[in-house]
């Protein structure tokens, strides 16, 4: 059974901050099929299209029939732990620092045997449920959990390495004026975050929902206008060393594409708010987060972006907005690479139109801000990298995978 983790003690500012190390990173190209699955929280294995056999590790041909048709498909998660061991003297720095480290060999019900990280409650001879997780190198690894829920399950030491659980962590929600921001604050607090800093530009100006934030225990309103470089830098100077999770709720939605707008002033605002705002936040908070990736229970852990799913395929009715979101998506990949040495995850939530003022004329279904907030927490707890929130986002994802040209034509109406 797992002991509950304790709230971290106040950090001694005289002590050196332990620098993050990364677990082994090299992988074959084909094995990134697992990375793709892990990013979305799916459990996939290669299955031979010719003979139906599941196989593992990643292969280029089926060991049963030599067919090259080895597609990654969703696979049954159940298996039995055949044998376990506790590595006490690993040869690389990351595991050496975290030893003893438990691994085991699992015989999957669907056939293959898999070497996996073990949740502490896994027992030899007992059934386990397997997932694919992204480790601190951002690479997919197999993780075995007990089949049934056990007490304090999420507090497992090895599991915490695979996730960015808000419990006891300090979170910055960058824009508290938006409904999404306010819902995110509430959800993160409910998930056990120690402090949620809420960025408000010009906080003396009243705003709707203010009473949900002011004077609440563990919620601190801070001055932040992400589009203003100095504002971001000033705030980072103040709280940069204690932001463990940053949730970028910057929101700037305006309808319209190219020809029906005059000039570039709206486009400039979109870029200032969404894209340059992202840059300002990254430059202000990113370096300290990257440094603090191994800083104890409340180490820095994740950066969350909320992006329109139309970052992936332009929606001409909100064409310029879609483009600003595409720019942010591209930038998020850059940020992910740059935060990776710190083991800090970058999670992107893709949503369809949200049930807010700026999508007033768009027909349903629309995504409730609360659903986005819940997705943020669940994604952090499960260590995801990509989430599609709501039916529209999920549909766009599937249509894009099926035929990007069809999607492009059909978004034009």
């Amino acid at each position: 059974m797992i002991e509950q983790i304790k709230p971290p003690r106040r950090k001694n500012p005289l002590l050196r901050t332990r620098l993050p190390a990364s677990p082994p990173r090299p992988r074959s190209r084909i094995s990134h099929g697992f990375t793709r699955a892990a990013a979305e929280g799916r459990f996939m294995l290669q299955r031979c299209e010719a003979c139906g056999a599941f196989t593992y590790p990643a292969r280029e041909a089926c060991p049963s029939c030599l067919s090259a048709g080895l597609a990654f498909v969703d696979a049954p998660r159940r298996g039995v732990l055949l044998a376990e061991t506790t590595a006490r003297v690993p040869s690389d720095v990351y595991f050496r620092e975290r030893a003893p480290w438990r691994i085991g060999l699992i015989k999957m019900d669907c056939g293959p045997t898999i070497v996996a990280h073990l949740h502490a409650d896994c027992a030899e001879g007992a059934a386990v449920s397997m997932s694919l997780q992204l480790d601190k190198s951002g690479q997919a690894v197999a993780f075995a959990h007990p089949e049934a829920e056990t007490p304090n399950m999420a507090d497992d030491k090895q599991w915490r390495e695979m996730t960015a659980d808000p419990k006891f962590r300090r979170v910055l929600v960058t824009n508290g004026r938006s409904v999404i921001g306010q819902e995110a604050v509430a959800a993160l607090k409910a998930a056990g975050a120690k402090t949620v800093f809420v960025g408000i530009a010009e906080p003396w100006r009243p705003f709707a929902g203010e009473e949900r934030l002011r004077g609440q225990d563990g919620i601190e309103i801070v001055t932040l206008d992400a589009a203003d470089e100095k504002s971001a830098t000033d705030l980072a100077a103040d709280i940069g060393g204690k932001v463990d999770i940053l949730v970028n709720t910057t929101e700037y939605v305006r309808p319209g594409g190219l020809l029906d707008r005059r000039g570039t002033s709206i486009a400039r605002d979109e870029i200032d708010q969404a894209y340059l705002g992202f840059i300002n936040l990254a430059q202000a908070f990113g370096p300290a987060m990257r440094m603090r990736g191994a800083d104890g229970i409340n180490s820095s852990a994740a950066w969350v972006n909320i992006l329109s799913v139309y970052a992936l395929a332009n929606w001409p009715a909100f064409g310029a907005y879609s483009a600003s979101q595409a720019a942010c998506l591209s930038l998020s990949h850059c940020l992910r690479a740059e935060l990776r040495p710190g083991g800090v995850r970058v999670m992107n939530l893709f949503t369809g139109p949200v049930d807010t003022e700026w999508f007033q004329t768009v027909p349903p279904p629309k995504v409730a801000p609360r659903a986005i907030a819940q997705a943020i927490v669940s994604g952090l707890k499960n260590g995801l990298e990509e989430m599609y929130v709501g039916d529209v986002a999920e549909e766009i994802r599937q249509r894009l995978a099926a035929n990007p040209k069809a999607l492009e034509r059909e978004l034009d109406r």
Binding site: P23, P24, P26, R27, S28, S31, Y56, P57, A58, P63, L82, A83, E84, T85, T86, A87, R88, V89, P90, S91, D92, Y94, F95, A99, W101, R102, I103, G104, L105, K107, T113, I114, V115, A116, H117, D135, S137, Q139, V141, A142
Partner: protein
Amino acid sequence: MTNTLRAPYDGVVIAAPVTIPYVRYSIESAQWWIGRALSALVAQAGIKASDIDGLCVSSFTMGTDSGIGLTQHFGLCVRWLDTIPLGGASAIAALRKAARAVQARDADIVACVAGDTNHVDSFRLTLENFSRFNQDAVYPYGAAGANASFALIARNYMRMFGVAREDVGKIAVAQRANALRNPHALMKAPLTLEQYLAARPISDPIHLFDCVMPCAGAEAFLVMRDETASSLKLPAARLLSTIERHNAFADDPMQVRGGWAMDVDELYAMAGVKPDDLDVVQTYDDYPVITMMQFEDLGFCKKGEGAEFVRQHDLTIDGDFPHNTSGGQLSVGQAGAAGAYLGLVEGLRQVLGSAGPTQVRNASLALASGFGMINYDRGLASGAAILAGPSR
């Protein structure tokens, strides 16, 4: 026993057992160690380097070199060349290939050499870059290398067959006793069963004295026809039989037997001997539990009786079952691919009567086995050979 359809090794002999004494760490390269072994081969056999017309090399740390680069490096002009990357099975595989080469007269004198260096960081780099499956699906899980992989195998095997740590410990303790008589063994201190049991855990149930110590060193021998050996007046051992098998029993969910079990009948049939006839046995001992598995798979006892077999026998040089007489890798050290050669070269010395302080009296028939390549969850490569000395 089944009759083999394989051609016998008529007139194939092995000579000039060479060991370049090991060191824990070396600032020299693998090529340096291989060069020393070649030089010692030539000196011991009383031949010129130009008499070597076949070369077979194994090494983990040669960098970008393979056998071909070494021909120019060492000024060898050969008409038969091989590089064997089979880890602990490299020596048996090298011997098999060289034997057929000289038998078919593709070459007259084949030098089989394995050597590795051990820089302070080279073992970690070998672990990290061992194989693709290891890179994708093993090393990222705790980065504990072969220790963790063998720990899983050992734990399953020990539980399945009721093996206690005392049982595998007896193998390690006996080898240490043997090693104390071998001046080249890196382990110089006696080891008691109590010390074995009290050692710190490395990757449960593997403890410190279950592990080999990575080191630098080289081993080598010559393979030729008996008339070549006679004309050189070289003491030589006859090769009676060999087996080799890779990726055996792939459907076993966990490894409880090696490829030997598939071919062991053929091994003895081809040699025309029984397990009881052997005077000395050299198994591949990276982890004593793998040695116990070999006692079963090589026909000294049935599957599951390895522990009882160990309890019933004295495995030291003067015992009733002399085993890993040099001290084995557990006590001499594991010089990379040369670890595969250690047992075969020692077995050759034994049947030639040139083992000196570790000599088993009147040894004339030896078995040496190899095991290697934990590619993913199990050792894939296995092999064995039986040699007969001139007195037999």
